[in-house]
Amino acid sequence: MVIKRKEFIQIGSLATASLMLPKFLKAFERRDLPIVPPGNKVVVILQLSGGNDGLNTVIPVRNDIYYRSRPKLGIQKDKALALTDEAALHPALTAFKGLYDDGSLGIINNVGYPNPDRSHFRSMDIWHTASDATEYWTNGWVGRYLDAQCKGCDKPTHAIEIDDVLSLALKGEELKGIAVKDPRRLYGTANEKFFRDVLKNHKDESGEQPVDYLYKTMSETLSSADYIFKQSRLHPTSAEYPKTDLGSSMKTIASLIFSDINTKVYYVSLGSFDTHINQQIQQQNLFTQMNDAIGAFVKDLKSNNRFNDVMLFTFSEFGRRVSQNASGGTDHGTANNMFLVSGSLKQKGIINPLPDLSDLDEGDLKYKVDFKNVYATVLKKWLNADDVAILKKKYDHLNFC
């Protein structure tokens, strides 16, 4: 094994830090390096909103049905980034190709659920809540992870969404994650001092009244805001990230991962992948953003020795129909693929067979893996949480982690 100079210095100094220095000195001695020792596992969820076209993401380059169904939209073999004889990646996903070669990309094909719904909102709901298609749940699976893991936590920072608005996925029965677009302005308000004084003035009574619930949320928000802000400044990454929304979100996530914040789940979205028209340009643009941001993120994690502790996965509320439509796009479909990105994948590359295009359900892919199996696996095997309680049902675990 060849150790590059930079890595050697890091490994060397980390070892020094953890072995030689008394604990209290570590904190300020090693300003440029993470305090958190490797081993603090986190999940990063990247939501591809709008229904990403999975067939043009992982392309079945030897499949005639694919090219027949998509005379205009099909991506030719020589343009795509070959993974195997059968499969290739969208041309914009160069960094993902690098991850594949590296053994840190996993692809699960045909992920979906029974009785798929083709409304964005409803299908996204199903992914967020992890309910069956026939049920309407009002809380999300990450939120229920919070319910299970941090009863009595003083700050709801175990799950952070990089956004202005909190997704249903992060809202539990009791606890909710926190949405923060930019740690410098969590609630960006001119009235902050007033809020703090109002909070100080409130006399908590029973805790039963809705007013106490509001004050509790307010108090958690303000203390979390301070906490996240401080943490984000503790070890701000100095790595280069693309100047896109997703780029800065990934940069924020990296800085928090390098701090000693208690966050276990990060959530971020990219969209819209709803490519009914002019799919080529739209998907190319979004994939370029995704590719560059995730590429930078992984590079950053690696150079800080944290890539083994991060499990990033992508999902979309549905895939798209196999056939192209008449407007240079594709319409809402069903099953889709998911990317897994981590330095410690136990299964790498293409984990299960590509879609069988000769066995469709009225022009749509049949799902083979329920997304709840993926959730259950991440919850149990990565986060060491009670997946059955959180998902309210037992789902078999997969073997990627």
Partner: protein, 488 residues
Amino acid sequence: MSSNQVKNQHLLWRAGFGPAVEQLPDLEKYSPKQFFKALVKASDKKPEYINVADDYLKGLYMGIGELGRQQRKEMDKDERKKIQQKNREGVRNLNMFWMHEMVNTAAQLREKMAFFWHGHFACRNLNVFYQQGLLDVLRRNALGNFGTMLKEVSRSAAMLNFLNNQQNRKDHPNENFARELMELFTMGRGNYTEHDIKEAARAFTGWGSNLKGEFQFRRFQHDFGSKTVLGRTGNFDGEEVLDILLEEKQTARYISGKIYKFLVNEQPESEKVEWLADRFYKNNYDITKLLEDIFTSEWFYDEKNVGSKIKSPVELLVGIQRMLPMKLENEEALMILQRVLGQLLFYPPNVSGWPGGKAWIDSSSLMMRMRIPKLIDDTDEMNVRPKDDDDQMMGRMDPDEEPKAKAARISGRAGRPIKANVDWKKYTKNFESVPREKLAETISKILLQTKQGVSPDLIKQYSDETGRENFIKTATLQIMSTPEYQLC
């Protein structure tokens, strides 16, 4: 809790969207009974049909009916695109128009109940004609007979399309409509079997609509055979299944319980719900009588019910505008706020409607709610961005975001003001006779429904003391920026 004012404010927040500034002088003068009577009377008239669809769409849809299927298929791409865009604009105009109505109408009870039914018969649909048709059904029947409303909703193009009943055919039944009908619209989960759903679905085969939104019975798709639903057997059609559901007392119980939670308290008391359900059933589902039972009862005004509900985003936004009459230069702000706070009219999350209660509150939505008063005052700016709604946007850019605002957001500069012109005179004149040192407390009592208000000293500390008017204005905005103001 004896004063008329507190009781009337409670009534106006629950039976409407909060007291309007014009009503302030009357709050102490009349009893809640008198107030309720006036509310019922003001809602007596048949509401006007809200028609916001533009002429292009109207011409087109009326024409489309005559076109053959083949011709429709061949309609060119640009035309389809234009239709989608016009529909989206239409639904947006419908939203603005209805919200304006909620703010300004004296028929508060009707609009409040129409708003309740809008969440009960929750429906997402991109066709503006379908949407305005369904809204009209809900507004016309909001205070009428539940059975009539249920039947009209079941025949509405909006619901039939939303719940896939267009695909419900004799040889290939689709159970979606029948399922939600029982689970969400009438009896509630656990009071029927899967078999009941299957059989009921057969009764609704052939129910559909044409493009204009008119009900169509397609007899060749209808299953005329015998069905057994909830123990009754016969060659039922959809209408008869609806009658069976109305015969089931569980329907009265389910609806009464849901209305109790919406109007009285999130924590229902089973005894009271049972009493209401009994009477609702005996009164043949007369909604006004049910409301009278609620709003004229002693227990409605119990201390534990006052200030116990978290306002929904629409209730909050409408309530502020009723108290502070204003013109918004940037009306789109109302759309953005609805989206950021999680309640965009005509876009419920799914057929079960908005979950309500604590579900409205998370760290971002709470902080955003408390920032609204400063937005009105233009001392704060909109710098948050709602999530994309792909059902609404169909892959296009956010229609609610102006190009300028988008540029500002991307470049990281501040957001934009919402430019509200508040008619402060109308508001401040109500406090003419209040001594200066009593102002903060008096305003607090009008704006807040919670037992404990916010400390007047604190309000004073954060208010502009340079003049009476300025003080009233700033104190009001500060009080509206508190957790307490989120409750009613």
